[in-house]
């Protein structure tokens, strides 16, 4: 009997979830929101030459050292056959992302750059050239050059962009919750649910589930598209589930307080500003000003994500940040919970 009841209420919760998802897949706006994170990740990737496999471009003069060319060609594309240094310079001044490399008589190298090159590529090139120098000295050991994808600390666009996208897109789950609730209210289907043998808490749980699952799917997809396949996904999941709490609470609030979809989306959009502010603050503000951002769960989530992507964050740090996020989510719930309960009645 007990077992049966448990099974039946799980069944009903999942029924509510399945209905919401089915409707999302049939609505252009919701469908777009489901796909948007992947599209944005693909666009971001197109802007990051160094994402995943490097596309470091170099140019070199005609009579450069063949060994150097062979070495560079292992890691970068090398444009050969430029007549002299002037030809090289004019090549570099074109708009694309390319560095000139000139070997000096003393065995050192000079890098010619224009200034528009992707940040980080230059470091990578220096790193490669340093590796070449040490490798060509007997006994210095070329094994020093360890091409760790993360060790390069490439493009901040990739590193910060990934965290930014993942956290920003965690709001989509909440938005879909809001849209579905607004639909139920607009067509008064919620009244039909309220005269069926399903508890209100089960309806709420069923509707909340996509708000937790979506950020994880979106987050994993975004990271994989951006080439972060070897980060600790367990930690990513913990971070995303905790920020999803906030998105779900805000989604329910927007859902019960808005009477049509556009105002629902608009009220969710107002959350974007604090999210963006806390992430940009964490990136650009001097460490001593970070205390100004401590109120924002997205600040802590960003710190966690950044640490995870750099593979510097341990579980202790993740758990600490997550605890703070959950505590802040509780405060949000205390502020908005009553509104939600009243709106659902």
């Amino acid at each position: 009997m007990e077992k049966n009841r448990t099974r039946s209420f799980f069944k009903k919760i999942l029924l509510v979830t399945a209905r919401d998802v089915k409707v999302d897949l049939r609505q252009a706006m919701a469908l777009y929101m489901l796909l948007a994170p992947f599209l944005l990740a693909l666009i971001l990737r197109a802007f990051i030459p160094a994402a995943g496999n490097t596309t470091l471009n170099t140019a070199i003069i005609k009579d450069a050292d063949t060994a150097l060319i062979l070495y560079l060609e292992q890691y970068a594309s090398v444009e050969k056959g430029l007549e002299d240094e002037d030809a090289l310079k004019s090549r570099i001044s074109k708009t694309d992302d390319i560095f000139g490399v000139i070997g000096e008589a003393d065995g050192s190298f000079r890098i010619i750059e224009q200034g528009n090159e992707t940040e980080g590529s230059r470091q990578l090139l220096e790193f490669l050239l340093a590796g070449y120098s040490s490798a060509s000295l007997p006994g210095a050991g070329g094994a020093e050059i360890k091409i760790s994808e993360l060790g390069w600390k490439v493009s901040p666009l990739r590193q910060y962009g990934a965290s930014f996208l993942v956290l920003f897109m965690s709001m989509i789950g909440g938005m879909l919750i809001a849209l579905n609730l607004i639909e139920e209210k607009m067509y008064n289907t919620i009244a039909a649910l309220n005269v069926a043998p399903i508890a209100k808490s089960h309806i709420v749980t069923g509707k909340a589930i996509p708000g937790f699952i979506l950020p994880v799917i979106h987050g994993f997809g975004t990271l994989l598209i951006l080439g972060y396949s070897s980060v600790d996904f367990a930690k990513v999941t913990v971070v995303l589930l905790s920020v999803a709490m906030i998105s779900v609470i805000i989604g329910f609030t927007a859902g019960v307080t808005s009477s049509e979809p556009i105002s629902g989306i608009a009220s969710m959009k107002s959350v974007f500003i604090p999210i963006a502010a806390s992430i940009f603050g964490a990136i650009f503000l001097n460490e001593k000003w970070h205390v100004l951002l401590f109120w924002s769960p997205y600040y802590w989530a960003f710190k966690s994500m950044d640490g995870i992507l750099l593979q510097t964050a341990g579980w202790a740090e993740i758990i600490r940040n997550t605890t703070i996020i959950l505590a802040l989510a509780c405060i949000v719930f205390i502020l908005l919970g009553k509104k939600i309960r009243r709106g659902l009645a």
């Binding site: 039946s8 639909e183 067509y187 008064n188 039909a192 005269v195 069926a196």
Partner: protein, 285 residues
Amino acid sequence: MINVDDLWHSYSHDKDYALKNVSFEISKGEALGFLGPSGAGKSTTQGILTGLLPLQKGKAVVGGYDISKPAREMFNRIGVSFEQSNVYGKLTALENLEFYRKLFDVPTADPRSLLKWVGLEKVINKRAEEFSKGMKHRLTFVRSMLNDPDIWFLDEPTTGLDPAIAGQIKDIIKEKKAGGTTIFLTTHNMYVADEICDRVAFIVDGEIKLIDSPRNLKIKYGERLVDVEFIDEGSLQQASFSLKDEKERNALLDVINTKKIETMHTREATLEQIFIRVTGRELAA
């Protein structure tokens, strides 16, 4: 099955009452019709009895469940059809019913045969957003039958439907009633009330003015009427005369003697006419 005692309700939580001292009971297998003009408080009463509106004052017991602390499982035995259709537009007719039926813990009817019953068999796989108003209304109506309810709340089940479909719906309700379903039916259509209900309650401005069976009401308040169509100064005229009232009887005689009669019928007073006599109000919205 349903006991309502001294129900009061104010949407604005003040002295502006939508319901005042509403009391009635419905026994098992009985159909009670709530008859009243628009804004009388019919839907408000149904809303309270189905737990959609809070019980503010008074007592209501539905199927043994005290409405002041409604239990979820009571809805396994209750069916509710809404005045305004409320189905999921993005789901097909069949999906709407399949979703809803799985919410019950009791055996449910086959959605396909229900849809066939109300003439929606050709559109079972069409999304409800593409439905006409009448189709949505029928879908809302059959949804309330999925759990084969013991107690059935029907808010305006035939309003706005074309006569053929309204007739079908009436037949279905009658069939369920014959099967022992207890029915609370709201309408401002006296023919529906007359045909289906064992008793009717006249409600005006939130107050029940009278509850009785249609038959008793007709005996008590009814009067035979004569409808006459006649030619007067070259055009067709129409008039009704009560046989009870002497002045009207004389007027009728006058018409018969002086005008060319086209048609003449006698009929019983309708519930509508009785309603107007008792309450002094028109039923029509």
